[in-house]
């Protein structure tokens, strides 16, 4: 998803996610899941790295799945 911004290859994606990439990523995720994601400031702050983002998404999945 990150690589679709700027036509990059996945190998070009760094671990750090900057704010342009974050805006891009959130939008791609929202389109993928078909609606706004419940991401507060704290969750977005954790999405500054690829691994942090994976953690946040995992938690979202668990929360959604447990409903």
């Amino acid at each position: 998803m990150l690589a679709t911004y700027g036509d990059r290859s996945p190998a070009d994606i760094a671990e750090g996610i900057d704010s342009l990439e974050l805006a891009w990523l959130v939008h791609q995720l929202e389109q993928h899941y078909g609606g706004p994601l419940d991401l507060d400031d704290e969750a977005l702050a954790r999405m500054s790295t690829v691994s942090g983002t994976l953690e946040v998404l995992q938690e979202l999945k668990v929360e959604t799945g447990s409903r």
Binding site: T4, Y5, G6, R8, D12, A14, E15, G16, I17, D18, S19, L20, E21, L22, A23, W24, V26, H27, Q28, E30, Q31, P36, D40, D41, E42, L44, A45, R46, M47, S48, T49, S51, G52
Partner: protein
Amino acid sequence: MRRKGFRVTDDAQPTPGIDPSWVDEVLLAGPADQVALVFETPVTRADLRRLISAKQSVLAAAGLGRGGSVALCLAPSLAFVTNLLAAWRLGARAALLDHRLTAFEVDNALQRLAPQVVVTAKHVTGGPLRGFVEIEERVATYPGRPADTAHALIQLSSGSTGPSKVIARTAANLVEEVERYVKIGAGVPQGGERIVSLASMVHVLGLVGGLLYGLHAGVQFVVPARMTADGILSTVAADPAPTTLLGVPFHIELLSSVQHPMKLPQLTGMTTGGELVRAEVYGGFVDRYGIRLGNMYGMTEVGVIATDLFGEHRPSLTPAPGLTVREEAGELLVSLPASPYLGLVDPARWADGWLHTKDAGSVDAATGRVRIHGRRDSQVSVGGLKVDLTEVEHTLAALPGVASAVVTFDKAIEAYVMLRDGATSAQVQERLAERLAGFKRPRVLKVVEQLPRTATGKLVRDRAALLAAAADAAPAIPAAISAVIPGQRAGQDVTDGATDPVAPAPVKEGNR
């Protein structure tokens, strides 16, 4: 909309300060109940005047007065707007320091600018992707001196050699730019309409083209709470008044990627500053939204220089009224009566009423339209922010532990460094983070055994050669020699509300 009888002289010589009446006459005049700004909630002109008066009292109590000097280091916020206008209304000179500069950079800037008062954020409420934040300010005195010129606004640019350039603009110069927007007319939002600004209000496009023009022309200046595609479009949808989006090329790409945007009959156009987007992105956006998509060319030193607000002349632009653009030896020069730089005037930058843009370009003799071909120096655009690679390279090379370094740009800033014995890339990353704001820092730092050089000993800047050198350094485990440095391309114009949103990333150490 210019008020009759208003006059600001363009005299930047030492005076007892600038006449502050321009703030009320050019920016704040208008119906008390007219909504001027929309951040968290709408702010009417009466509200704004009251808020500014309150800030004036605080700044005055700290000793700021006519002819005084203040530095504002605030993220986009109502506090930024009101403190800036309060400083101007006191007749003081305001220097804007990017809120994401490191403490080291801010310290250097303050020593250089020597303001009497410094306004910083004591407490910030907000996070990544916020268009604006809520700030509780800290107003402190600083052992500086009064303004020694009658400039109203000071901004620092990323320096090509040595320290940053200090760019200074008079009130008259700012008013002239606002008037330029008025004269451009078609494609510029009119009174009663809205600007939804995605461009940073602490930089020239959002500041003058959005905030100051909006205040002058009675155009609501609106900032989305959240700078996601959905947040931007929802902000447009929130009011039926005709709306123009103001942003940078990234925002075109972001909005173009919305598969099924909501119907927005009030959205009349989008204008971006900065480099042109690819033709397919341009076409995709226009198809999707069916609105005008325009481009502007400008500089911090001048503001808007040329426009193509209807995309009629892509990739060419028409010089803005009152400005002359000419080509000299392949470089674009813009008419500017006085040097925009404080301190010594470098004739290679400004001479005899002409500003050297350092942009390669051409001017069509028949139409007068200009075309930009790219930079002639080492400046690159990172999310709409100008970063000079020389500054990055010099800072990196001067760090203890670094023997030499080359910095390049290919979609992102990359650094190739030779380390001194015992040094690690993690140490280099840590030290660099103390000295350079996130958006200036390399996305990727690669350690090499030897930097490639020409036969005469000059450093080679060819990316392929540098990548080969990096691969040679540890051919078996290339990933292990890359230290990922976060923070670059921190889109000022996307997350302006946030402090540097990028947390330190894991560093992978090499086997040096």
